[in-house]
Amino acid sequence: MPSLKVTKTGNEIFAEAMRQINPDVVAAYPITPATEIVQIFSQFVADGLVKTEYIAVESEHSAMSACIGASAAGARTMTGTSAQGLALMWEMLYISAGLRLPIIMAVVNRALSAPINIHCDHSDTMGARDSGWIQIYSENVQEAYDNLIQAVRIAEHPNVKLPVMVTTDGFILSHCLEVAEILDDKEVQTFVGTPPKRQTILDFDNPITLGALDLQDYYFEHRRQIAEAMANSIKIINDIADEYAKLTGRKYEFFEKYCMEDAEYAIVLIGSTAGTAKDVVDKLRSQGKKVGLLKIRVFRPFDYMKVKQALENVKVIGVMDRADGLNSYCGPLYSEICTCLYESEKKPVLTNFIYGLGGREVKEQDIEAVFNDLFRVGKEGKTITTKYIGVR
């Protein structure tokens, strides 16, 4: 297959993927650093390059509400947002998942106020982790593209029918140019295909009442079905990744193992910092140190069993959270990794690091310092309390 190489920012590649997906409806509202996605896309609409009807709504709450109406009517529906915009959508995130609507959203990770800040951390999407949305995080521009294309198939799969958010790190990915390989339009169209049939509010022969009042007698069952769909999606996400790998040669799993085969010391993290961490792993490996990296790509659902298998032979693990749990103990990723390893008899020593809030830069020496902490913990055999990297 001839590959097409492009140089694009994270926002540009999201917009490009959206053009190729060619959804029926996009409803969105501007917010830094995600604005460009829908700005570029609305130009595609204005130039007639897509069939999409674009709704320039008056808020993110209405963006998600309009997406819900459009998706309920059977339209392939997309949007994009960031931070406060995602927070304003909160109520509708739970409702879109609860109504089982396959909406696709590009999210550019940005710190939540207050204090107001426009730069990267994961506090926005981490707060939405229990909303019923599938969450796929990207390390780089290439992954952002590949994740968004696959998201369409995942969301619409009859065994899933859940909304999917694909994220990039604000500014670090959204505004930086990288070289990526993209498919041609026809290949994307063939891959995403026609949405599978589902019940809609435009079917007048079989009228449905969507969003009915569920009381003590049904609410629990319907919530249980969402949990079931989320569990089902693990297999679907892997199947679609296999299919995508056949098309592109790029194979994605729930997480990426980097030098993990014989690693005794490992870092677990999410997003663009994986790139920096890989360089540090290479450097330390060249010094003969048995270090590795586990980069989480799919955070919801979380593949606990596989993550457990991937980590249980490591001696010391440093979990790096780009969001704080504000729970007096740890960040959200750390909680998940603890849950995975509780079932393991080997129980590696775990330590938690909070880093990069509000776009605070993370350099190679910071990652190296984390590994040095892990070596020390390994030597002393006991963990240290959650460490805030680079905080004055």
């Binding site: 029926d24 409806v25 409803a27 069939k51 999409t52 009807e53 709704i55 320039a56 709504v57 008056e58 808020s59 709450h61 209405s62 509400s65 309009a66 997406c67 819900i68 109406g69 459009a70 998706s71 309920a72 009517a73 059977g74 339209a75 529906t77 109520e91 509708m92 409702i95 109504l99 809609t200 509010i201 435009l202 079917d203 007048f204 009228p207 449905i208 009442t209 969507l210 969003g211 009915a212 009042l213 569920d214 009381l215 049904y218």
Partner: protein, 307 residues
């Protein structure tokens, strides 16, 4: 406009079995609006009495596609559905001529839903928004909204020893909607079935966004005798508290002028929420209400004359 016989023969899209109170206006409003629409119709509803009483799973009173998502966003939700319809129609995936209607109570319209309503109106979606206006948050137990009239006692503007019910006059939602320069804005009551049916018919045949404000009595919140529900809305018209009028492409048109304008006290005295106003010492408040009713009525007459 169909005769009442013709209407009676139409297939009901809002059917019996719902759990609205006896004497509630919302059920009558929903039924009349749905009867007036003789086309495939998608209904959206804000959280509120009408929604919780008509869609208790696994039952539904809606024999037509229906969506409820949240409280403050019926207009945005239906604007999305209407856009999807246009997208799919353009692609030849649907060939029907479909009507889109959103229902919201006064809380979901005047207060929490105002932004979403304004956005959808400004964007000009082809949809009808019906406010079934019972003048308070009745579903949560009679709390004041910006549609609650002055003097009314509600659970959050109770008549007390020093405060005699709600202090403020109601918000002028009609003026707000007219200011959006949408093609059709109207005010009506369910007690005049021909007026409401006529207006709904006009609204759905308008190319763009339309808004209808319907006074909807609440037997628990106002409260009134259930059998007086329709009568009470007609009395609101006769006192000029709730004039029947429409604004077509910016032009005001009065649909009914009472031969003899009844004093507002006639309307107030049959509702429990105003009972405290009838006690000695509160004459001043009734005067103020009368003055405001007169002012708004005169202003409306002027607008109609100059249109």
């Amino acid at each position: 406009m169909p005769s009442i016989k013709e209407l009676a023969k139409r297939k009901e899209k809002f059917v019996s079995g719902h759990r609205l109170c006896p004497g509630c206006g919302a059920g009558v409003v929903a039924r009349l609006v749905m009867l007036a629409i003789d086309k495939p119709v998608v209904v959206g509803c804000a959280t509120g009495c009408l929604e919780v009483s008509s869609t208790i799973f696994p039952y539904s009173s809606w024999d037509t596609p229906f969506i409820h998502s949240a409280f403050e966003n019926a207009a945005a939700t239906i604007s999305g559905a209407e856009t999807a319809y246009r997208a799919l129609k353009k692609q030849g995936k649907i060939d029907k001529d479909v009507v889109f209607v959103a229902f919201g109570g006064d809380g979901g319209t005047y207060d929490i839903g105002l932004q979403s309503l304004s956005g959808a109106a400004e964007r000009g979606h082809k949809m009808l928004y019906v406010c079934y206006n019972n003048q308070a948050y009745m579903n949560t137990g009679i709390q004041r909204s910006s549609a609650t009239p002055k003097g009314a006692s509600t659970t959050t503007s109770p008549a007390g020893k020093v405060i005699p019910g709600k202090i403020q006059f109601s918000k002028d939602i009609m003026g707000i909607m007219v200011a959006h320069n949408i093609p059709y804005v109207a005010q009506t009551v369910p007690g005049r079935w021909n007026d409401i049916v006529n207006k709904v018919e006009r609204a759905i045949n308008t190319d763009g966004f339309s808004f209808i404000n319907v006074l909807s009595p609440c037997r628990l919140g106002w409260p009134h005798k259930p059998e007086l529900a329709m009568e009470i809305t007609r009395l609101a018209v006769e006192t000029c508290f709730w004039p029947l009028y429409e604004v077509i492409e910016g032009k005001y048109k009065l649909n009914y002028k009472p031969k003899e304008k009844k004093p507002i006290i006639e309307w107030l005295k049959i509702q429990g929420r105003f009972a405290h106003l009838l006690k000695p010492g509160n004459e001043q408040i009734i005067e103020e209400i009368q003055k405001e009713v007169d002012r708004r009525w005169e202003e409306l007459l002027k607008k109609c004359e100059s249109s």
